[in-house]
Symmetry: D2
Subunit: 144 residues, 4 copies
């Protein structure tokens, strides 16, 4: 898993490499469609680590980021043992919400296999929407 | 699992009941967001059975229905052991594609916990788009 | 899902029916080996409901049942859309632990596809082993 | 994911690092018990790569390795974002079967969180047991 990604990250993107396991495939022989949301989660965790934080720490500071909406567009199949490159960035930063956008590329970094996004609210521990604090905006949001 | 759903099916909807398992929840204490796509799959399987077919049989007749796009909007949490009602219907029937639309309700059938859709292509075994055959349209598509 | 099981329950067994979904299969075309533990969990939930309790309620009363060890022996493949019968019973009741034993049969109830067990500790909310209380023993353990 | 493992591999062991995702945890706040089998699969894939092969290639050469039995003993909880070290080795090499043994350690490599094994048959594409070929024994089995 310490391979270097072949894909070129666009500005503000963080790359995450994912090896497709047997358990993630289905009897059509390809990566099952729900597994892409698990991979999106791993990619935004990698994004968070690359920004010097962990989601655990974000929660410890009292900020929760529940998913409000998720979309995935499937463009080409991924198969067992494929090494996928997932590019993740923050889009649509707002006062109390934002979006992670994802591109899943094949190992060569040339073919787009899937793309999607997850929309997140910023809430407190009670689930009430709160404005994203400054430390969070500085770490997560692209510079204006 | 032989409970009667409390929710009222709308025209052309098929209802599927789903018990939330421990393994489907996450450390926030709620149904994990990717699990909704598994539940959508189970709901469209129930829809297919209610139409007198099985997806296995559809494949045997040479028609495949890969997911092209999936969306889920999360409106309220579902928790361990909750009995969910999932209402599933076909929307946007087209020549070589169609959409399943889903509503996930709580046990009482009053609160909408999530809603979403999956867009499917009709293809042959080689993945080439083909027009939905008449037997398929009659079984799956709502009357014009 | 309101089909009647064809299999005959042995004394103290509770039957649970499970439809194999696409998402549970792998690219070998069969039910993936980790999914059996999810199905075991659903079977012991059904067992608990059949005994007039829910695991949620057991936890509310201060008793937790973490899995200490799990084993599954795979005897034959299960495939997409197969309707499995899972027979679950309590074995080896002890002071602060017990075992659930499982048999997974095909739809006809004749072929044994898998069997296994999960060993559970009885603990309090802090994870400390405690003797199974009388109400729990009466509900879960077979009569001596 | 390119961190160096802190744990010391024993002879013939291959180490694999695994970050616990949100989707792998359950509402008790810990890694769900079925997920360990997914992690075992990823560890034996890493083992296979370290031996200069891939399981895909093994299958292409006509050898299949279905799981006959799996066991996991859970010794301590793993939580969201924990970086686990999984040590995997081949045990009990036989004519037409063998076992992978696993140890899951915490990030520091000192605490044993879980251990287990999976027993595999060697079969041809039709599922018939066959003797492990020489190229396979040389790559997978420890020297006698």
């Amino acid at each position: 898993m310490n391979n270097m990604p072949s894909a070129q990250a666009q500005e503000d993107e963080v790359l995450y490499l994912h090896r497709v396991s047997y358990g993630e495939t289905d009897c059509m022989g390809v990566l099952y469609y729900a597994e892409y949301l698990h991979i999106f989660e791993r990619a935004r965790t990698a994004f968070t680590h690359a920004r010097g934080l962990s989601y655990k720490e974000v929660e410890t500071r009292g900020i929760y980021l529940p998913v409000r909406e998720a979309l995935c567009r499937y463009r080409g199949p991924a198969r067992y043992d494929d090494l996928l490159t997932v590019a993740c960035r923050v889009a649509k930063p707002r006062r109390a919400s934002f979006t992670f956008a994802y591109r899943i590329l094949d190992e060569s970094g040339t073919a787009l296999l899937a793309e999607g996004w997850t929309e997140h609210a910023c809430t407190n521990a009670q689930g009430k929407p709160v404005a994203a604090p400054d430390w969070f905006r500085r770490a997560f949001f692209p510079p204006a």
